[in-house]
Amino acid sequence: MVSTVLDVSRLRKDFPILERTVRGDRPLVYLDSAATSQKPFAVLDAERAYYETSNAAVHRGAHQLAEEATDAYESARAAIAGFVGAHAEDIVFTKNATESLNLAAYAFSNATAKAAQGGVVDPRLVLTPESSVVVTEMEHHANLIPWQELCAKTGAQLRWIGLTEDGRLDMDQLSVIDETTAVVSIVHQSNILGTINPVRSIMDRARDVGALGVVDACQSIPHMRVNVDDLGADLVTWSGHKMLGPTGIGLLWGRSEVLDRLPPFLTGGSMIESVTMEGSTFAPPPQRFEAGVPMVAQAVGLEAAVRYLESVGIESIEQHEHELTAYALTTLSHMPGVRIIGPESSVDRGSAISFVVDGLHPHDVGQVLDDRGVAVRVGHHCAWPTCRRYGVPATTRLSTYLYNDTDDIDAAAAGIRAAQEFFGVA
């Protein structure tokens, strides 16, 4: 079946890695974009051109290269901000989304520690054993463990919104967000279940009780039009490498008045205003959160990725993937012995589809698929509590992007059948 919105076979030519074979002479069928996306020539070329012509340390130095590099870095910030409907000065570059989330969690622990020493901090960032922190049961470990650690350091209570049998948030449990809640940090689209959560209503509740709202948008921003302001959050985090960009760059968007009152996370060069031997004052955002020489080439590459996504059309990508997701859900749900973990309907759902095969461990399913050139993810997908919730030790997950089509889904389905036959569980 040909995509109704994208010319996938033409787009695939932009991604050199999709030309290679694996495990001998098998054409690569890449269904692991929720882990990381592949990169088009435009991104590779932009990074190379930057290193060939303008490479220098940004925001320092009086020479032309430093000027060009700084321009390239700040131009990337503006382009990425534009992609999510934000102002450039509200976008912080980090190493990855995990760092972005740690930056948010450490704002609380650093403020709490400073307050204990009599320092002047925003009282909303100071946690006590009476405080609570709210996440959901479908968080990636990156949006769980920083908050667990924050609670362990401050005595605050970690609470979570549980899940329904069909892979959705149990909205009857929103009452865990109450006047004690200092921060609510939730995933926009689950990396393991594919569920797209009603973040706006949860963020509204967070705001009503005076809590800071954080949204992990790693799996949504690459695949759909997201205006960060519309999410109703104070902070939004995501990564560059899942949206056709390079590894080594993550993003944090914050409302300017919120970023303004967050203390720094990593400290050192570039993030200061004034330094003496006794102490320092810090630069305003975003520089306050960008200590050290930053990842300029990756920022340049990510700008190219954003321009590429806009040239294809993020709305078209969303529609294409929605159709592909519906096709994959139908295909998998008609296979005997295959059970989808997560919503079985394509409504409010992204393209990451987890499943288990009766009598087969995901590692063995993945091995047979790999042998046929089909790359999927197996394991707990850094969402171990979610696996526990559904009583499975692990799942197999396929996930798509603009360069996938129904042939790829068919190849995965054929591989699953081959695994069932090989292990005698068909």
């Binding site: 495990r23 995901p362 063995d364 091995q367 090989f422």
Partner: protein
């Protein structure tokens, strides 16, 4: 299926996976170890004790992929009622085989059915699966204070 995957999933491995030998924990283990493979969630618990003749007794339970669970079954069958010299030979030979990158000549005297895991060493992601019960065995043995002579050379 490619030759490599056929070699990975030897008939012996599939047989142990579907019909595990010696499954179940010992009632009177002197040492027990729970090991988990954090990348995929495979779990195995191995318990050991020595009898009055200094022979090892092994029990296990676990859940996970074919490679990890067959490895536990093969190991338990191989080492149940074994002398400590035999345990030492087997532990060393299995670790060597797993680190051979597919080029190892498995030592059948030391490993028994364990030689079927030779094909695993070509798949870095699966070596951890195969080693999981052996790591648990070693840890359980140390907890039980059962020392083996690490210096003996396996009978070849």
């Amino acid at each position: 299926m490619s030759d490599n995957v056929e070699a990975l999933y030897q008939e012996i491995i599939l047989d142990h996976y579907k019909h595990p030998r010696g499954a179940g924990l010992l009632d009177n283990a002197a040492g027990e170890s729970f090991q988990v493979n954090p990348t995929c969630g495979d779990e195995v618990t191995v318990g050991v004790r020595l009898d009055e003749n200094d022979h090892l007794h092994v029990g296990y339970e676990g859940q996970g992929c074919s490679i990890s669970q067959a490895s536990a079954s093969v190991m338990t069958e191989l080492l149940e009622d074994a002398t400590l010299d035999r345990v030492a030979d087997a532990e060393r030979a299995f670790h060597e085989l797993m680190h051979s990158k597919g080029a190892g000549e498995p030592n059948e005297d030391a490993l028994g059915d364990g030689i079927a895991f030779a094909g695993v060493s070509k798949y870095p992601a699966r070596i951890k699966c195969a080693l999981l019960p052996w790591v648990a065995l070693q840890d359980a043995r140390l907890k039980a204070g059962i020392e083996i002579d690490q210096s003996t050379t396996p009978d070849a």
